[in-house]
Amino acid sequence: MTEHTEQTESCGFEPKIMAFVCNWCTYAGADLAGTSRMEYRPNVRIIKLPCTGRIDPLFIIKAFENGADGVLVSGCHPGDCHYTTGNYHARRRWIGFKNLMEFTGIDMRRLHFSWVSASEAIKWVDLINGITDEIKKIGPFMEYKGLKEKASL
């Protein structure tokens, strides 16, 4: 946690959201939102990967461990994967992993999975705004942070 976030937290809760996106569809879609000068909430930090199929479920756990209040995974639509089938692997892993996360008691409103193509800048904007507002409502993700502090003691 940096001093910045602490400052903003004092004047109202600003969630931190980590997005794991693929290079070809969602990253390009987010770029398009920029080139089209759309506006969305500044709470998201993107990590670019070649494909959603590259995403190890551990990345998501690590993100929560490091203070994320929400995590988004986004890639090409089914059938549109740059690597033909990478996003199917991501989807299958997601289905299994989602249940596990739910079982461990993580509020599923904090964890999102979506398809955003390179031309869907509007969808990206709506998605980020929606997730940010939702997480603002449910508040910071204290359970996990608490666990981490306990572990470090």
Binding site: T2, T5, K16, A33, P42, P50, C51, G53, G67, H89
Partner: protein
């Protein structure tokens, strides 16, 4: 300790308006490992790049962060600059603080933008600390090309490649090359005869020492990757020895059986041993096995008796030929929407309702009527002809939603041909809009209306029916607001251009994309019009969508130039973003092998000192690997990593979050 330099770009005011770039740079200076940080107006300008290069040398930097626009914009630029300053290009990373920060967060107080830029830059710095220098991969290129489809686009592509000194194979499904263009009578807007301009090119392709024709052949299987494809081609049995056949035609003459000619669209018969049309290239007949009594029932065999060089072999079987090639051009063309779809226009009930392509055959000098316009029912010369445009095109409910692009032009051409051949005839055209965009196209349509008396009626046809030997066409003339009924002797439908049957199966073999109409997708509709997402596979002509002859030819040449530039070097370089196996921890579960979309993972034998295989381990073929990383996430023992996106790098970025 690493020595990292951070360069924050202001991009004029594009970034600086909502991000305090100076503050970001100052903050980065405090991070361990960062020895240099600054901001600058335009990092991508040449003074900006010079500053970067000098800073690398002066501060002995071993890593560079440029916080600027999207890496899709200038990653290459900055990596090149780093390389010229002696730094490994993969030690340079870009933070996207323009498209994904300053342009989307409009907060003029710069608070949110600065905070996010600093966060993103810090994450990239931590990631960079785990980077390893990488070297570009070099792959040998097999200088041979395969062109799938021997229509005009394919022929043009093959000729251009062959002229460039590279061997080409044309794989054509039909017994002759030529494609749909061989069927046309004249071509718009110049009215030169299609055969006259096409056949010289067909012959040139046949005689060119660098072109091999595989006619009556289809693609069976495609393996490999750019520069190194292995393609299996099924050479369907012609039952005629191509090498020995002289093309005398004696067998065709003596064959006693006739069936409908597919080339003539059923308007005439052909023999069971046949060449599709007189100028076929190669001029070698094939036996239509399902209809041949010798092959089916072992009766007849006349062709083999009369054949002088004895080149007919009824026992001939399909052959699978394996070819290694560096690039593939797909030019499989189009077909027309079957006439059977147009019941409301009387097709099937009324013999004198034909398609535009059938009209081409009627008008063609080599066609079933020798170029005279005679209607199919009784062979009379039609005194009036109704042309119905957009039969299936621009009709989402019954046909396809797109415009078939060439129908307006060829219908105008048909009215001209008709008026030239039948002097007192009257032609009527029902149209929705006239789309005549192209050099000399609009003038051509005007000529049909003004000089050749074609009556253009704007509106749709509701019904076509028969009464007293006449075909009656009912429709609306929306310009006058009246219902019209026209007595016609013949009706010609401008049927929609659709993708070929089996276009999707071929696309799956090649792993290229296609749209909902099964037309192939180009990589980028504007900037990469002949490339596909699969490197080394290019497109040309109407397999991508409706287009006219000049466009198809231009694309054939464009695809050929792409192939030639690929072949201009003996080796090609590739980005080194590939997977790598840790042989110590790999436990041969083969999850990676099943996950890989490219079959890039092989079983590699590990031998002991005696040369006995002790175990098998996964191994990545760097030439095939596209760097998607699916195997990395699939590996249970964490034994595969992706160069450029290693677990270490990603975790470092997450930890700095």
């Amino acid at each position: 300790m690493p020595r990292i330099g951070v360069f924050v770009c202001q991009c004029g005011n594009n970034i600086a308006a909502t991000v305090d770039t100076k503050k970001v740079a100052e903050e980065m200076k405090n991070l361990p490992g960062v020895v240099f940080a600054c901001d600058y107006k335009f990092m991508c300008s040449s003074p900006g790049q010079d500053m970067l290069k000098n800073a690398i040398k002066d501060n002995k930097l071993d890593g560079v962060i440029v916080s600027a626009c999207s890496p899709h914009m200038h990653e290459k630029t900055f990596r090149k600059a780093c390389e010229s300053a002696g730094l490994n290009p993969y030690q340079c990373e870009i933070t996207n603080i323009r498209e994904q920060c300053s342009w989307v967060h409009h907060d003029k107080t710069k608070k949110a933008g600065t905070l996010k830029s600093a966060d993103l830059t810090r994450m990239t710095i931590e990631r960079l600390k785990k980077n390893k220098p990488l070297a570009k991969i070099k792959i040998p290129v097999k200088k041979k090309a395969i062109v799938i489809g021997g229509g005009i686009a394919g022929i043009q592509a093959a000729l251009d490649i062959a002229e460039g000194g590279v061997d080409v194979i044309i794989v054509e499904k039909e017994p002759s090359i030529g494609g749909n263009m061989a069927r046309l009578s004249e071509t718009f807007p110049t009215m030169d005869c299609s055969q006259c301009i096409l056949t010289p090119k067909m012959v040139e392709a046949e005689l060119h020492e660098r072109i091999t024709l595989y006619t009556y052949s289809e693609i069976e299987k495609v393996d490999g990757y750019i520069g190194n494809f292995t393609v299996q081609i099924r050479r369907k049995s012609k039952y005629v020895d191509e090498e020995r056949c002289t093309g005398c035609g004696e067998c065709i003459e003596k064959c006693p059986f006739k069936v409908d000619s597919a080339f003539e669209l059923g308007m005439t018969k052909r023999k069971v041993i046949y060449t599709p049309f007189p100028q076929s290239v190669p001029n070698v007949p094939v036996i239509d096995a399902p209809n041949c009594t010798k092959i089916q029932k072992d009766k007849c065999g006349v062709c083999a008796i009369v054949c002088g060089p004895k080149c007919i072999d009824f026992k001939m079987e399909d052959k699978i030929v394996t070819v290694e090639a560096g690039a593939i051009i797909v030019a499989t063309g189009y077909q027309l929407m079957p006439n059977e779809r147009f019941g409301e226009y009387g097709y099937g009930r009324i013999k004198d309702v034909i398609s535009g392509m059938q009209f081409e055959r009627l008008a063609s000098a080599s066609g079933p009527t020798g170029g005279e316009i005679k209607r199919p029912s009784d062979g009379k010369v039609p005194r009036s002809v109704v042309f119905i445009q957009c039969a299936g095109s621009r009709d989402e409910k019954k046909g396809v939603s797109y415009c078939s692009k060439v129908c307006c032009m060829y219908t105008a051409k048909h009215t001209m041909l008709y008026s030239h051949k039948v002097h007192h005839g009257q032609s009527y055209v029902f149209y929705m809009d006239i789309r005549a965009g192209g050099k000399r196209y609009e003038e051509f349509v005007r000529r049909a209306i003004e000089h050749d008396n074609a009556m253009y009626l704007r509106g749709r046809v509701s019904r076509v029916y028969e009464r007293d030997g006449k075909v009656l066409v009912q429709g609306a003339d929306t310009l006058s607001g009246n219902q019209v009924e026209i007595e016609a002797d013949m009706v010609v439908l401008a049927t929609a251009i659709i993708s070929r049957d089996g276009a999707d199966t071929l696309a799956q073999k090649l792993s290229i994309g296609y749209d909902k109409y099964k037309f192939y997708n180009e990589y980028h509709p504007k900037l990469k019009p002949v490339e596909t997402v699969t490197a080394g596979i290019f497109l040309a002509g109407t397999c991508m969508g409706p287009m006219d002859i000049p466009d198809s030819v231009a694309q054939g040449s464009a695809a050929a130039s792409k192939v030639l530039s690929l072949f201009s070097a003996d080796e090609m370089t590739r980005e080194p973003i590939t997977a790598i196996v840790n042989k110590v921890t790999c436990n041969s579960c083969w999850d990676c092998l099943t996950a890989c979309p490219y079959s890039a993972i092989e079983r590699d034998a590990v031998k002991n000192r005696q040369g006995v295989i002790t175990k098998w381990l996964a191994k990545v073929n760097e030439g095939v690997c596209q760097g998607c990383g699916v195997c990395v996430a699939a590996c249970r023992s964490k034994s595969i990593d992706l160069r450029g996106y290693t677990d270490e790098q990603v975790f470092a970025a997450i930890n700095a979050f």
